[in-house]
């Protein structure tokens, strides 16, 4: 098993897609922080003093850590590219021929997928936060995040913990569709459609229910079924300030839900992979 992992990691580090995605992440972080900085500058001209509302480390953290916003979306797309290439060029079959079980090969792909996702995510988040801090400090008084979110150290750790679980789910989902479709176009399309479905799920509840109480109850229920509930921009913008969440229950739901989905897609994908012929 360690040989499968060693070879897959070696291949990943040599993969151009990995390096290109890393560069794209860096460029995106610079662009977004610059845009936020320009917004802050334009706000500053309307007031007496300097404004650090958007281009702050904390705001960049909350914006960049989400696996379903901006760069987060690029990660599963590129991961699918890498996995499908294993099928296209037949490199995956070499491991089966020399005696690895298909379940081992699939597990190896999952681990490499996780390394890919988390490395890129940590790089992007770290770089974004560093840029935000340079422009406006971490969480100055009056910043957007200081108004809408509790940003204690524990809250940040919980948010990052939940985001890691969502990355595990997203990796499992991307691997599943790449394995089932073995075709970049189909796998990416369906993968994005599934993510969009989970992203708009809270909007459906917002549109369906009118009173705060109803929305609150719906949100408290759906957070157990929507693996990206806390990373969804709709939640951040529309529900966060509206719904008085129970912090502990939120954290449990934010951890459990994506992990359950990750496990379902992982084992389903492994079963399909083990029982389907390899070309």
């Amino acid at each position: 098993m360690s040989n499968v992992l060693k070879s897959s990691i070696f291949k990943l580090l040599r993969d151009r897609t990995f390096h290109v995605t890393l560069i794209v992440g860096g460029i995106l972080a610079v662009l977004i922080s610059l845009i936020y900085y320009i917004i802050d500058l334009s706000l500053s001209t309307q007031t007496n003093g300097p404004i650090h509302a958007m281009a702050t480390g904390s705001n960049m953290l909350l914006n960049s850590v989400s696996p379903v916003q901006n760069f987060g979306i690029a990660i599963p797309i590129n991961l699918i590219n890498i996995i499908v290439a294993e099928f296209t060029y037949g490199t995956i079959r070499n491991k089966v021929i020399v005696g690895y079980r298909k379940t081992q090969v699939y597990f190896g792909l999952f681990i490499v997928g996780l390394i890919f996702s988390l490395t890129l995510a940590f790089f992007y988040v770290g770089f974004s936060v560093a840029l935000g801090c340079i422009f406006g400090g971490f969480n100055p008084s009056g910043s957007y995040t200081s108004l809408v979110r509790n940003l204690s150290g524990a809250a940040i750790a919980e948010y990052i913990g939940m985001a890691i679980c969502v990355y595990i789910f997203i990796t499992s989902l991307a691997l599943f569709f790449a394995t089932v479709f073995r075709h970049v176009g189909g796998a990416i399309t369906v993968n994005i459609l599934v993510l969009i479905f989970f992203m708009i799920l809270p909007i459906i509840f917002l549109a369906t229910f009118s009173s705060d109480e109803e929305v609150r109850n719906a949100a408290n229920a759906v957070k157990w079924f929507d693996p990206i509930f806390y990373q969804s921009i709709t939640v951040n913008l529309a529900l966060a300030s509206l719904v008085a969440f129970d912090q502990d229950a939120n954290f449990v739901a934010g951890i459990i839900s994506p992990l359950i989905y990750a496990a379902i897609f992982f084992f389903l994908g492994m079963y399909i992979f083990a029982h389907r012929d390899l070309k």
Binding site: V4, R16, R93, V98, D277
Partner: protein, 309 residues
């Protein structure tokens, strides 16, 4: 003494969309043999190879590798003795030749990476620039690199599906030499190729397949005997030769030109020569005229797997 088979299949069947692409195949590959696998496109050769490699799951029937049934858990250990090229070598096109071999070393569990350079040299890729990616390789270079990957793991069984595809004559010869050398080292080889003339030079055993049915398994010696369709006898005196032919009991012959007779009866050339000499016939020359493997295969398909008539 019982024959040792490295690969043995029992009624092996693979069905796609209700159609048997491999149909009750009973195949036997002897230890140390080079098994030439011949069949038209879509005959089921590649599917059988995929089944043996563990890439596909049989719909019916069984197979064993080195005496171990494919359903047993030991089979995964056994598979470590196998290397294969299916249709085209499976390479990471975004990496160079050296990194491809390094990658293969890692998943094969080879710790000594110093074997990479000599292996590249063996297949003639040692002078390729390091920055040249496999995606810029010619088909021939890719085939060579694919063979280099095979050589790394010191396999006991090699499965080669069209390994000479896209190679120039020099490359074909190199691959043939490699196959021959590996077999000399005791490696059993299953090889399919459309270049039957090349296969003839290396194969020790043959399997002929058509439309998913294994028509015949035969040794090279038997195939040679069967392909030796006629003996051509050159003469000075045609009348005297014909008289002698009749006298020694040859019934199936014809005067093929103004200077030779062709004998189609089942008789060894040396026996015929001795008999004609004893009749006092002066013979100009005597040759066996071989039919090709290709002709043999087509006859086999036409006769539904029976070329004994």
């Amino acid at each position: 003494m019982e024959e040792t088979y490295i690969v043995e299949t029992h009624n092996l069947t693979k069905t796609y969309s209700g159609r048997n692409v491999v149909n009750n195949v009973n195949m036997h590959i002897k230890k140390g043999s080079i098994y030439g696998f011949v069949g038209e496109n879509g005959s089921g050769k590649t599917t059988i190879m995929r089944l043996i490699m563990g890439l596909s799951i049989p719909s019916k029937g069984d197979y064993s590798l080195f005496g171990v049934d494919w359903k047993k858990s030991e089979i995964y250990k056994i598979r470590k003795n196998i290397s294969a090229i299916v249709e085209t070598p499976s390479l990471v096109v975004s990496m160079n030749a050296y990194d491809n071999l390094k990658y293969a070393c890692y998943y094969c569990g080879i710790k000594d990476l110093s074997i990479i350079e000599p292996t590249l040299k063996k297949v003639g890729l040692d002078n390729v620039p390091k920055n040249k990616k496999v995606k810029n390789f010619s088909l021939g270079m890719r085939q060579r690199l694919g063979i280099a990957v095979l050589l790394l793991s010191s396999p006991k069984l090699l499965l080669l599906d069209e390994p000479m595809n896209g190679l120039d004559p020099e490359g074909i010869k190199e691959v043939r030499d490699i196959i021959y050398d590996l077999n000399k080292q005791g490696i059993t080889i299953l090889i399919s190729s459309h270049i039957l003339s090349e296969l003839e030079k290396v194969a020790t055993d043959w399997g002929f397949i058509s439309h998913g049915n294994l028509l015949e398994e035969i040794s090279s010696q038997e195939l040679n005997d069967k392909c030796a369709k006629s003996i051509e006898v050159g003469y000075h005196d045609g009348n005297k030769l014909e008289e002698a032919i009749k006298k020694i009991g040859i019934s199936n012959y014809k005067n093929s030109s103004n200077s030779s007779f062709r004998i189609f009866d089942d008789i060894k050339p040396l026996d015929l020569l001795n008999k004609l000499k004893s009749e006092g016939v002066e013979i100009e020359d005597i040759n066996t005229s071989h039919g090709s493997v290709e002709e043999y295969y087509f006859d086999l398909v036409r006769n539904g797997g029976n070329n004994n008539e």
